[in-house]
């Protein structure tokens, strides 16, 4: 369960982790814009393939990839089904579900695959960014983009305390399991509700204690941030090359579509 948030791979030394996070964020944003404006499924699938290939080359465990992509893949599946059966005019085939005839349409299927491709492409870009950049360095990069300090402060605290709360939830869930709290559906529901309530209370108490600790070290409503180093020449070169690559791919796709 907690592999979902594991960031140990971001601390490995490789060509991608060595790139300045600001460069990576710029490249990721450019890729996302290209994907969102894509007019055919080929570009999103191409990006998806590149990202997955890179993740495999970085030896990120397939299990972690599967866990992280599970939610977007489910969304894609639902999207494809809805589009296929509820949009378009050219019938492909008909199935009967609980006495209701449902007809799949060619235009809907195309549209579903296209939207699904966009989702997968975008998610894989963010996933790749997440496995080669520690969260705190992404926050640092976001400061460079003049993102509101208050938003960043909340994000930093959330990121920090996710791990604390997860430990707490894991302990509580284990304690419930050891006392047979999840052996029947009704009991499991009760245990889960108690767990959720306790986590909310714990997070509120934690927030109070953390705020006290911050006040004792001079906090007056805004978290201070240190200066950011200048973006190196190598990183600027990498950013420029990647932006050219993304723009070319987008223009190429535009040419094909046009």
């Amino acid at each position: 369960m907690f592999d979902l948030f594991s960031d140990i791979f971001t601390y490995r030394d490789n060509a991608l982790t060595r790139i300045d996070p600001r460069a990576k964020v710029v490249i990721a944003l450019a890729a996302l814009i290209a994907l969102l404006t894509a007019e055919r499924v080929i570009l999103p699938l191409f990006v998806f393939g590149i990202c997955l290939g890179t993740v495999a080359a970085l030896r990120i465990p397939a299990k972690l990839v599967a866990v992280r992509l599970a939610a977007p893949l489910s969304i894609v599946a639902v999207l494809v089904v809805i589009q296929t059966f509820f949009t378009g005019t050219t019938p492909l085939f008909t199935i009967t579900l609980a006495g209701w005839p449902l007809t799949a349409k060619a235009e809907g299927l195309r549209q579903g695959v296209f939207l699904g491709g966009r989702v997968l492409g975008s998610v894989s870009v963010v996933f790749l960014l997440g496995v080669v950049t520690p969260a705190h360095r992404i926050f640092q990069a976001l400061r460079w983009f003049r993102i509101s300090r208050n938003w960043l402060e909340i994000a930093i605290l959330m990121y920090r305390y996710i791990f604390v709360l997860m430990d707490r939830v894991a302990d509580l869930a284990a304690a419930q399991r050891l006392r047979l709290g999840y052996t029947a559906r009704g009991r499991a529901m009760k245990s889960f509700t108690a767990l959720a309530g306790s986590t909310i209370i714990h997070s509120l108490e934690q927030a109070k204690r953390t705020h006290d600790a911050m006040r004792l070290r001079g906090y007056r409503g805004t978290m201070p941030f240190g200066p950011l180093p200048e973006l190196g020449r190598r990183d600027r070169m990498i950013t420029a090359l990647c932006l050219i690559g993304i723009l070319s791919a987008r223009l190429l796709e535009w040419g094909i579509t046009g």
Binding site: D7, I8, Y11, P134, A135, H136, F139, I156, L157, Y159, R160, Y161, F163, V164, Q206, R209, T210, D212, A213, M214, R215, L216, R217, G218, Y219, R220, M223, P224, F225, G226, P227
Partner: protein, 289 residues
Amino acid sequence: MKAVAVTGVHFTYDDGTEALSGIDFQVEEGEFVAVLGSNGSGKTTLIALLVGLIKAKSGRIEIGGREIGSLTAEELYQRVGLVFQNPNDQLFAATVEEDVAFGPRNLNLPEEEVQLRVRSALTAVAALPLRGRAIHHLSFGEQKRVSLAGVLAMRPAVLILDEPTAGLDPAGEAQMMQLLKKLNREEGMTVILATHSVDMLPLFANRIYVLDRGRVLQQGPSEEIFCHQEMIDRAKLRLPYVSRLMYEMKRHDGVPIDGLPLTIGEARAQLLELIPKEMILPGIEEIGP
């Protein structure tokens, strides 16, 4: 000069629990003072009052000769720093470096000074190699040391610690106490320690305050405190294990022990006096591996 002076302080929580009932508590500059008490004795409330997290209903609290209410937050937190019992309450930044730099940056110090303080605080707690690490990747002992560094970076004159050894293994406990001793003896920092762990105190504390149900039962050097067995029992505390052993030998076996040794060194010296010289093997340390 008094680093901390608390006179006749009362505090009652909103639910009616009287946590402190007319406490008097004084700490001289450069002293190492332990506040000893069982759970619910009022230690944590006293600490919260000393750092201004809560306000006394009556009485007077002075930090460095000035009434606590007359100090701005900036002045107060450069005079007194608190290390929380659970480091997770205190470590809120993503990395060690950012967390330790939090206080100095809030003081609006130049970045070079911030970096200097971060380096020196991390060096003081032997955590400089952890500088770039994410907080959630640290062990509990490392988190404890980093949370201490975060407070040291504020350069407070008085360092208050709430159960600093709670949750640490014996080696971590000894390391933490040695660290505090060094800060006190070498840097001249005033240290106030709230704890219910008695074994190490005779080695480190100049004076001990024993709290029970919001009152000071007794205060004084450890040899004075631990010779009052009845008072120790009343406070739901215990003697250090080595003292307990010597006490039992004296009381039940009639071993003629002078006073009550509080440390292993003192107990060893007394036992050596009692054992006939011919029974002691010379150079025993050389026999072992």
